[in-house]
C-alpha cells in the first residue's frame, strides 16, 4: 500500500476537529475536575479519619466499576445532560478516585514531625494543608497525576458507548470506509504527539515550580 499524502491531508481537518472538540476537551476538563475532586476526597479522608469509611466505600465502588457501565448509567439516568457533559462528568469522577489514592500516598509520605511542628505553631488546619503539607505532598504526587490524565486520554474511545465520536473512533470509521488506515492513523498519531509534547513541557514546568 502506497502513502497518499493528498488523502492524509484531506482527513486532517476532520480528525483534528474530533480531537479538539472531544478528546482534548474531555481529557483537559476531566483531568482538572479529577485533580480537584481527588484532592477533596484525599483531604476529607485524612481529616475525618475512621469516620471517612463510607466515603472510602463509595470511592472504591466507583473505581472498580467499568467506565462504559458508568457512562451508560449516567447517560440514561440523567437524560437531560448532553452526551459530552456526561462524558466529562464520568471521566472526571472516575479518575478522581484514582487521583485521590495518589494524593493520599503523597500526603502519607509527609513525616509526622511536619504535622507536629504545625500544631506546635498553632497553624489552623487550612494553613497546615496549604503552606506545609500540600506543597510537599504534591511534589511526590504530580507525576502520578500526569499518568492518570494520560490514562484518561487513552480511555476516551469509550465515549462511543454514549454515541460521542472522539478522534480514534473517527479515525477507525474513516479507515473502515476507505481502507486507508495508514494515513488516517499516522495523522491521528501526529495530532496526539503535537498535543502531548507541550503537555509534557507544561508538567515539567509545574514540577520545577514545586521543587525546593
Amino acid at each position: 500500500m502506497t502513502w497518499d499524502t493528498e488523502f492524509a491531508l484531506s482527513v486532517f481537518p476532520e480528525l483534528l476537529s474530533a480531537f479538539v472538540r472531544v478528546t482534548l476537551l474531555v481529557t483537559v476538563v476531566g483531568s482538572l475536575m479529577a485533580a480537584a475532586l481527588g484532592l477533596v476526597w484525599a483531604i476529607t479522608q485524612r481529616s475525618l479519619g475512621r469516620r471517612s469509611l463510607p466515603l472510602r466505600w463509595v470511592l472504591d465502588f466507583i473505581r472498580m466499576t467499568p467506565i462504559p457501565v458508568q457512562l451508560l448509567f449516567v447517560y440514561y439516568t440523567f437524560n437531560n445532560l448532553s452526551a459530552l457533559t456526561v462524558g466529562i462528568l464520568v471521566f472526571g469522577i472516575h479518575y478522581s478516585t484514582y487521583m485521590a489514592e495518589s494524593y493520599r500516598a503523597g500526603i502519607e509520605s509527609i513525616r509526622k514531625g511536619q504535622w507536629e511542628a504545625a500544631t506546635a505553631l498553632s497553624l489552623p488546619p487550612h494553613r497546615t494543608w496549604r503552606a506545609v503539607i500540600l506543597p510537599q505532598a504534591l511534589r511526590a504526587t504530580l507525576p502520578s497525576l500526569g499518568n492518570w490524565a494520560i490514562a484518561m486520554f487513552k480511555d476516551t474511545p469509550f465515549l462511543i458507548f454514549i454515541g460521542v465520536l472522539e478522534m480514534v473512533t473517527v479515525a477507525r470509521q474513516i479507515g473502515g470506509s476507505t481502507f486507508r488506515y495508514t494515513e488516517t492513523f499516522t495523522i491521528a498519531g501526529l495530532i496526539f504527539l503535537a498535543a502531548s509534547y507541550p503537555t509534557a513541557i507544561l508538567m515539567r514546568r509545574l514540577e520545577k515550580r514545586l521543587a525546593y
Partner: protein, 251 residues
C-alpha cells in the same frame, strides 16, 4: 505558670503517667531527667497538645489547656480555645521539623503572620532580629536542607521564639546533632535563658547545661517524680540510689 493536675496518660493498655501533679512557676527553668521511657517526652507532648490527655487537667496561667471542669464534669475544650491557650507555648523538637518547602525566613514568619495576624513587614523584621540572636541572619534566604543540623536547630529555636511564647519546651534538642555542633545550640539557649524570662521545660542529657540554666531538676522514674532538687544538689548529692545510678550512667 504550668500546673499538671492528676494527669493520667495511657497508650492503649500501657499507663505512662498515673496521676501526675506538678507546678512550674513563671520564668522558672526546669530540667526533666530520668531513664529512657520514664515519660519525659510525653509530658512535653501533652503540654504541646500533641498527645491526648487521658485523664486530669493541665493549666497554663490558670487557663485550662485541653480539658476543663464544667458543672463538675471534665469536658474537652473547643479547638479554637485550645489554640488560643497553646499559643503561649513553643516547642523545639529533637529532629528540628523545619518546613523544607520554605526558606528560613518563611519558616519563621509563617505562624506570626497567619496565626498572630502580624503584618508581613513587621514579622520579617522581627524574624531577622531573632535570626541575628541565633547567629544566622545571613542565612535568612537559605533553605533548611542547605544548613547543617546545628544551624537547622537554631532556626527551629528562632521559629519558636518568633511566636513570643511564655513557655518553651525543649526535648533533647541536641541529641540528633554531631558533637561539634552541640555547643552553638546550647550557647543560643543559654543566651535566651539569660536575656528573657521565658519559662523553660528542658529534657536533656547535657548535665553541665542543665546545671547552668535550670532552677530545678525533676528526676522521673516510670512516670513519677522520684525526687526534685536544685541542680547542684541533684547532681552532687542525689537522695535516691536510683538517681545516683542514673546520673553515673549518663555522665
Amino acid at each position: 505558670m504550668i500546673h499538671f493536675q492528676d494527669v493520667v496518660k495511657r497508650f492503649g493498655d500501657t499507663t505512662v503517667l498515673d496521676g501526675l501533679d506538678f507546678t512550674v512557676a513563671p520564668g522558672e527553668r526546669v530540667t526533666l531527667i530520668g531513664p529512657s521511657g520514664s515519660g519525659k517526652t510525653t509530658i512535653l507532648r501533652l503540654l504541646m497538645t500533641l498527645e491526648d490527655l487521658t485523664e486530669g487537667f493541665i493549666y497554663v496561667d490558670g487557663e485550662p489547656l485541653t480539658h476543663e471542669l464544667r458543672d463538675g464534669k471534665r469536658v474537652a475544650r473547643r479547638p479554637r480555645d485550645v489554640s488560643k491557650t497553646r499559643r503561649r507555648i513553643g516547642m523545639v523538637f529533637q529532629q528540628f521539623n523545619l518546613f523544607p518547602n520554605m526558606s528560613v525566613l518563611e519558616n519563621i514568619t509563617e505562624a506570626p503572620i497567619h496565626v498572630l495576624g502580624k503584618p508581613k513587614q513587621e514579622a520579617r523584621e522581627d524574624a531577622l532580629r531573632i535570626l541575628e540572636q541565633v547567629g544566622l541572619r545571613e542565612r535568612a534566604n537559605a533553605h533548611p536542607m542547605q544548613l547543617s543540623g546545628g544551624q537547622q536547630q537554631r532556626v527551629a529555636i528562632a521559629r519558636a521564639l518568633a511566636m513570643h511564647p511564655e513557655i518553651l519546651l525543649l526535648d533533647e534538642v541536641t541529641s540528633a546533632l554531631d558533637p561539634e555542633l552541640v555547643g552553638d545550640v546550647l550557647e543560643v539557649l543559654r543566651e535566651i535563658a539569660r536575656t528573657t524570662n521565658i519559662t523553660m521545660l528542658i529534657v536533656t542529657h547535657e548535665m553541665q547545661f542543665a546545671r547552668d540554666v535550670s532552677n530545678r531538676v525533676l528526676m522521673f522514674d516510670s512516670g513519677r517524680i522520684l525526687e526534685e532538687a536544685e541542680p547542684d544538689k541533684m547532681f552532687s548529692h542525689p537522695e535516691h540510689e536510683r538517681t545516683r545510678r542514673f546520673l553515673q550512667a549518663i555522665l
